[in-house]
């Protein structure tokens, strides 16, 4: 029974983020068009009749068909095995890291409480950090196996960049971990369910604003998106590590980028914005300030929480896309300097200050 529940939860969350990944492609195309004062994708309306000329059919149906039916070209001097394996190696960590992120509190079915999290790990944060650090292999191998100097440069840049920003990312998380005293993401989400002075939700952002900024910056760098897209760098390296990829394999690399930004959005939501918490909604109902209480059925609370989580998740995905189309790209030395000389010291200072504050408030 437990196995069935876990399987259902896993399939549910994987299907969810794959859908979101596809949708993000549309948001990216249409969002970039809006920001650049273009019209963007607006063809392929359903049967040519429905007024769906916002291009969503175009991007969700026509684009994948186009990508999957294109010629799958492997360069003659490439390492065939690794060239074929690299997209899969890149895909797996991005796809499975989401299972540790809770998307709801508990679902009560027939007196049975199901924690809405595909894998309840007591080391959830470490699991996701581990997956993020494994994510670089697919990129590096794609760059090397293509036997193309631009691709190789992209792969080398990716490995240096991801190792540098992993450190800032991990150190930013230490402040959060010290605050909540656990590595379990469900516990962290639960711990954010109270109100400061009865009105402000007790989310992580109000305790760890510095960690939030460092984490978001490092997270965008880990998912290799503008302003940190040096491994791709269209204007310098053609297309970086996936220059020599076409068809479905290239689509895989695009999807991996989106999946990684969804994982970053999921972590930001869970650690700094209360995860599935909705202000004033507790497990038994609505608690408004001034001791006003409306009881709500348990199923409705679960649905509200899931909706809140998906809304926050979608917001941070959207935010990353907006950053991508707003901020110009760093130069490579600026990127490494930002990681090692700015983010890392600030993250260290954040750890020290957090530790001091925790000591002071505990001593009281």
């Amino acid at each position: 029974m437990d196995f069935v529940i876990t399987a259902i939860l896993t399939v549910f969350i994987l299907a969810n983020i794959m859908n979101l990944g596809g949708l993000l492609l549309w948001v990216e195309r249409k969002g970039s068009a809006v920001l650049q004062d273009r019209i963007g994708a607006n063809r392929a309306a359903l049967l040519g009749k429905l007024p769906l000329n916002i291009g969503i059919i175009n991007t969700l149906v026509a684009d994948p068909i186009k990508l999957f039916t294109k010629e799958d070209f492997i360069p003659p001097n490439a390492d065939r095995l690794l060239h074929a394996l690299a997209p899969a190696i890149a895909m797996v960590p991005a796809l499975i890291s989401f299972i540790a992120i809770p998307f709801g509190d508990v679902l009560v079915i027939g007196g049975r409480e199901i924690s809405l999290q595909a894998a309840n790990l007591n080391v959830g944060i470490l699991y996701i950090l581990g997956m993020v650090s494994l994510g670089v292999y697919g990129i590096v191998l794609a760059g090397w196996a293509s036997n193309n100097r631009w691709a190789l440069l992209g792969g080398i840049r990716a490995s240096a960049q991801m190792i540098s920003y992993e450190i800032a990312m991990g150190l930013a998380l230490i402040g959060v971990i010290m605050l909540y005293g656990t590595l379990d993401l469900q516990e962290i989400a639960r711990a954010q369910g109270y109100m400061i002075w009865g009105i402000i939700p007790g989310w992580g952002i109000f305790y760890q604003p510095v960690a939030f900024i460092i984490f978001l910056a490092a997270g965008i760098a880990e998912s290799k998106r503008v302003p940190f897209d040096l491994p791709e760098a269209e204007s310098e390296l053609i297309s970086g590590y996936f220059t020599e990829y076409s068809g479905a394999k290239q689509a895989t690399f695009m999807l991996v980028d989106f999946l990684e930004s969804i994982v970053v959005a999921g972590l930001v939501t869970t650690l700094f914005f209360g995860g599935w918490q909705v202000p004033f909604v507790m497990r038994d109902g609505l608690h408004l300030p001034g001791d006003i209480f409306y009881p709500l059925p348990s199923l409705l609370v679960t649905l509200i929480q899931f909706g809140a989580f998906m809304t926050k998740l979608a917001f941070f995905c959207w935010l990353q896309i907006m950053i991508r189309w707003t901020v110009p790209r760093f130069r490579y030395d600026q990127l490494i300097n930002l990681g090692w000389k700015i983010l890392l010291p600030i993250a260290l200072a954040n750890v020290l200050v957090t530790a001091l504050l925790i000591l002071i408030f505990q001593a009281k």
Binding site: D79, L82, L121, N122, V123, L126, Y127, L129, G130, V132, S133, L134, V136, Y137, V140, L141, G143, W144, L152, G155, I156, S159, A160, M162, I163, E166, T182, L183
Partner: protein
């Protein structure tokens, strides 16, 4: 961890470890080494040491091996044709391997098989129990290791500046 899981993992581990030293391409060797590290982490998971397992993956597979790959790709190392290795080096490696194997056999005879039915203590392998041990019983070794790592980091920066 039952015998079947152990055997499957052991065969995989030895297979990839063999590829590390036998494959002519340095990239394949480094990749196999990363796989060996990850398989070791799987052993830790089956032994209920989840934290240790994830540290193994983050540190070895995620950081150390990525740096290896980085260096191999940066220097663009070509396939190693094994022929130009001096005979003396091979002899030394062979003797070293035999000595290690004998040591392992001796150790294997001396260790008593741990009782697998014995229940694990409460909270075994969790962050809480591990850090409690680390910051009470093993505080001095822990701090000494941190200083060692700090020395290595400072040394690397100093050397890089020359």
């Amino acid at each position: 961890m039952d015998l079947l899981t152990f055997s499957i993992l052991a065969v995989l581990l030895v297979f990839f470890a063999a590829i590390v030293i036998l494959h002519p391409s340095p990239v394949y060797s480094a990749l196999s080494l990363a796989l060996v590290m990850s398989l070791l982490a799987v052993y830790f998971f089956f032994l209920d040491a989840h934290l240790l397992g994830w540290f193994q993956i983050i540190v070895y597979a995620g950081a150390v091996m990525v740096l290896f790959l980085f260096v191999i790709m940066l220097l663009n190392l070509q396939n190693d044709p094994h022929e130009h290795q001096p005979q003396s080096l091979r002899a030394a490696a062979g003797i070293g391997g035999v000595v290690l194997a004998i040591e392992l056999l001796l150790l294997f005879n001396r260790t008593t098989t741990p009782d697998s039915q014995h229940a694990l203590p409460e909270g075994f392998g969790t962050v809480l129990s591990l850090s409690e041990k680390l910051f009470t019983d093993f505080l001095l070794p822990f701090e000494i290791t941190s200083i060692l790592l700090l020395v290595a980091a400072v040394g690397a920066v100093v050397l890089a500046k020359r």
